[in-house]
Symmetry: C2
Subunit: 592 residues, 2 copies
């Protein structure tokens, strides 16, 4: 069973992501070292003892729909109640609404633990967190007053309603309609699909944030507005009023995250459930036709959270495989004197497998926490220059954190199955569920292909291309400092520098294409470039821990540098040369 | 729905694997071009029309156990009956027992198609094929007479009973007992787990091939014998007699291949089912204590067959994703004039994804067919030198065919899910089932880690290390011939030669370690070396098709050479430098 690696997480926060220095600078008024350790310890306990035991049974039972109502797996509702009573839901929410106003990076470390314990369980609160951010940033004072406190306490939960059958990665074709009633409210109608926790029994009310189109709104993405549509209307005194005209009409049968209900939501069909007639009553959030911008407020942080989920899955799968490899005995190993068979962890092939898992987990964690901390620093800084600097850093790291970590979750959970041999394929063992659950992380909140395109098309050009180059320069300085510290072997240091050279070359190449407006090679190179960036960045981030704990940190960094980093050679080659064959070869794809 | 790519398969057989030249030499008396095309066409029709429609429902229903009897999913039993009536079961079985005595390579091409249609369905016949081989090679004339004809016709099916709870990758600890009765029979007792199609309703009888230990047999692998244990004893006249003392006591709840029953088999518990008292009655196959050798006869070809399954999964997943990408419309593409959204296949990122899938499928196919053809040529050649040459080639290629193809099946089916976006995660879409089914291919019939160790420890030393080096030399000559043909661009040719250089360097490095008896770096390097060998070999095999069809074959080869082959750089580096950090880093794995 999962045991939260509290010390590793705290170390990664402090030294890989750099929270230690930020705490020293006194940027976060609510956080010091003691508070950090206390929170991590308590979150780890809750995740390990109260959530993790529900994961496998939740996977087996799944979320069930009957008459528009979802029943979550046994024990989940109670665990959620206990979780929110612990104050976990408002960890990084505004103090004005009852939150603890702690940095996002702390919340992301907690989310890693919730996700290790059960990513299906962690998903609902992830969406609520996004909803709180969107409302806090864009909601009217009236809406904030009525909804935020209960969302922050977790008494109610929030959802994100974006996708429609014809509108997935491309939201420009959203069709759901919102008609103004003239009294400040709107009536919504339409169908949304793939709505996570769109309906459930955790809370009495559910606050849907819904993308829809006003009458006569411009076509495309500039005609989409964001609305708040509660499942039950909320009276002046905060009590629940009439049931709104929104209902869950179906729940998906999915490969994983069975405990998390993925719902089809119907707005405004005037069915028997509705106590408000036909048309779901909603309120505008932010400005008309600026809904996508508001939605991206919640989406961006949700992307980092999906990254944190990926780290959690990596960690849980690695722990499980490690436990098995220590106990399962098969074969002999030359280096081990033994009568019978030895634990498979003595076999070099298994060691390579588990160290790969551990290294990818550590790199994903370092990257996700670094991204979350950049978001925090963008918020915390008032100074325009610094704010811009951290905002651009956060923008740059978000697609990396989301995609690298969720890709690694697929890889690491797969290796976890493999280490178990035949037992890994048996559901009761509990390795398969991580693998099935991990597979959605590369898809939702923007597929990893979309993340890569975002990285190349929107993040590389930041500040005229200077932001990314100066960041690579900073990373080079860190490697130089690492060399100077005397803790780096010449081999490892050389490999880190070499990795940064590959990244710089690929970056310069893509920036030339950007300047030339030559789109095809950019789009073709996006995915390998994202991987290249991440695998190199992961190594440099891990190296930052070595000076703080040479004995504990050097061995894994060396393994990473000498086993994983060389992937960068092939990736750079693909970035630069991979697109040339594409047009001709793609013709094959249209032939029968 | 899957449509068998009959022309592609026939082309791969002829030109990637080299069957065309072999047919020209007249090595196979039963096969000519017309027969080949007819068989492929008819197998393709059967797979597409009669098996494929049963896959998704079979996954949903699964195989169900009640009172020791398994019910397979609806329609499966009838499909099997129809399949065996078509003569497919005996395609490469001995003519003397009613088989068609066609080369294994033809059968593997057919198995690719059965597996594309439903790998869970294809598994049962895969095991029967292995059983036929073991009996034909090692069974007494008496056993052959009584069992082979009905196994070849498919009236009965066979199983392989190796694994026990404590004996998986390491069979030395097999505990199942066999006690001689003095009349030529033995009484077996013990428990076997993970027995594919150990019990089912396809056939009236099931012929189990079981590893067990005689009383006073030496410990370890040299004390294991192979026995034939029928579910029902067979009378002199071939009719079924008493129910033997063997029963299925459980069926696993697995991540995939739900339609294929994975059984726990209990031998000799003297339960109510037994009509022979206590102890399952069995007959020795081959010599006493030589059971592992006999089992490897069936295991080796089963490994190639698992490779063929991997190809089938790659093909099916690629077809499905391609179909979706042609139809699903999202976003705009600069190169395409369009009012609304364009098919996602116009996006370069999706093209890269699908071409990667197509290239890995083609390379896996070329490798698996080449391996099967080598086995055929080892059988067909009487001349000692040639026989040895082809036997060593088959030995070398078997772990590559099994591991590369099953690894690629995981990767390609995963990319297939990804191309579908959110729809890929929904079970009804039918992309997820390929992904779940593929995950077992890297585990059973020897995990891919075991394949890699087999490659490095047993196959590299063949003929004092000369076999593999001369093969790499042959591949270099093929690349030179390709250059000379005028069909290769300088870029592609240079990349192929570069790839072979990486492979040669890594091979020489490992052979030095072999000579020095330095085991740890060999074991640590095994998995990346297997991948390196396969990715380079795949490119060279594909290049052999270009001179036969430059227009059709060049674009994919170029894509492969310029996008996938560069992976070899990192792999070679890992082979040579990856082991050094392992001992120190592995200490982390023992810490809490």
């Amino acid at each position: 069973m999962y045991r939260a690696p509290v010390d590793e997480i705290a170390f990664a926060l402090r030294h890989h992501a750099g929270l230690s220095q930020v705490l020293g600078d006194g940027v976060f008024s609510h956080l010091d070292d003691d508070v950090l350790d206390a929170i991590m310890g308590e979150a780890g306990r809750f995740a390990s003892e109260e959530i993790a035991p529900l994961n496998l049974s939740g996977d087996r039972e799944g979320a069930k729909l009957a008459n528009g109502a979802i029943t979550t797996p046994k024990g989940w509702k109670e665990a959620y109640a206990h979780w929110r009573e612990g104050g976990w839901n408002g960890l990084s929410a505004p103090e004005a609404y009852g939150g603890q106003d702690l940095p996002l990076v702390v919340n992301m470390a907690a989310f890693e633990m919730w996700a290790s314990a059960s990513v299906a369980f962690a998903l609902g609160p992830t969406l609520t967190m996004g909803g709180i951010e969107a409302l806090a940033a864009h909601g009217s004072p009236e809406l904030q007053k009525r909804y935020l406190e209960k969302l922050v306490s977790g008494e109610w939960m929030a959802t994100m309603n974006l996708t429609e059958p014809q509108a997935g990665s491309d939201l420009s074709t959203v069709r759901t309609k919102a008609v103004p009633e003239g009294d400040g409210t709107y009536r919504l109608s339409g169908q949304k699909i793939f709505i996570t926790f769109g309906e459930h029994d955790f809370t009495d009310n559910i606050v849907h944030l819904v993308l829809a189109r006003l009458p006569d709104a411009p076509e495309g993405t500039r005609g989409i507005s964001l609305f708040l549509v509660p499942k039950f209307l909320v009276n002046e005194d905060g009590t629940l009023g009439k049931r709104n005209d929104v209902i869950c009409s179906g729940v998906e049968h999915k490969m994983g995250i069975h405990g998390s209900p993925t719902c089809t939501m119907v707005y405004g069909d005037g069915g028997a459930h509705s106590e408000v007639g036909t048309g779901a009553i909603g309120w505008l959030v932010g400005e008309e036709n600026r809904g996508l911008n508001c939605m991206f407020t919640m989406m961006n942080n949700a992307r980092v959270a999906i990254g944190a989920h990926g780290v959690g899955l990596c960690e849980a799968a690695t722990q499980k495989a490690l436990e098995y490899a220590r106990e399962r005995r098969q074969g002999k190993a030359k280096a081990v004197a033994s009568e019978g068979a030895v634990a498979i962890l003595h076999h070099a092939d298994i060691q390579r497998e588990l160290l790969t898992m551990k290294a990818l987990t550590a790199a994903s964690r370092a990257l996700v926490y670094s991204c979350a901390l950049a978001i925090d620093l963008a918020h915390a800084n008032e100074d325009t220059e610094k704010k811009k600097y951290w905002q651009e850093r956060a923008n740059l790291l978000t697609p990396l954190a989301k995609a690298f970590s969720s890709d690694n979750a697929v890889e690491v959970t797969g290796r976890g199955v493999q280490v178990h041999g035949g037992m890994g394929f048996i559901e009761e063992t509990g390795a398969a569920v991580f693998y099935r659950d991990a597979r959605i992380g590369t898809i939702y909140e923007g597929t990893n292909g979309i993340q890569a395109i975002d990285l190349v098309m929107r993040k590389l050009p930041q500040s005229g291309g200077q932001h990314v180059l100066s960041y690579i320069g900073e990373l080079s300085e860190q490697v130089d400092a690492f060399k100077a510290s005397g803790e780096a072997t010449a081999e490892v240091a050389a490999r880190l520098s070499w990795g940064l050279d590959q990244l710089r070359d690929a970056t310069v190449f893509l920036q030339e294409k950007l300047q030339a407006g030559d789109e095809q090679p950019l789009m073709a190179a996006a995915t390998p470039y994202l991987r290249l960036f991440s695998i190199v960045l992961g190594a440099v981030l891990l190296s930052r821990g070595v000076t703080h704990d040479p004995e504990g940190q050097s061995p894994l960094l060396r393994f990473y540098a000498e086993n994983l980093l060389a992937e960068a050679a092939g990736l750079k080659d693909r970035v630069i040369h991979g697109a040339a064959s594409l047009d001709e070869a793609a013709k094959l794809l249209w032939k029968d």
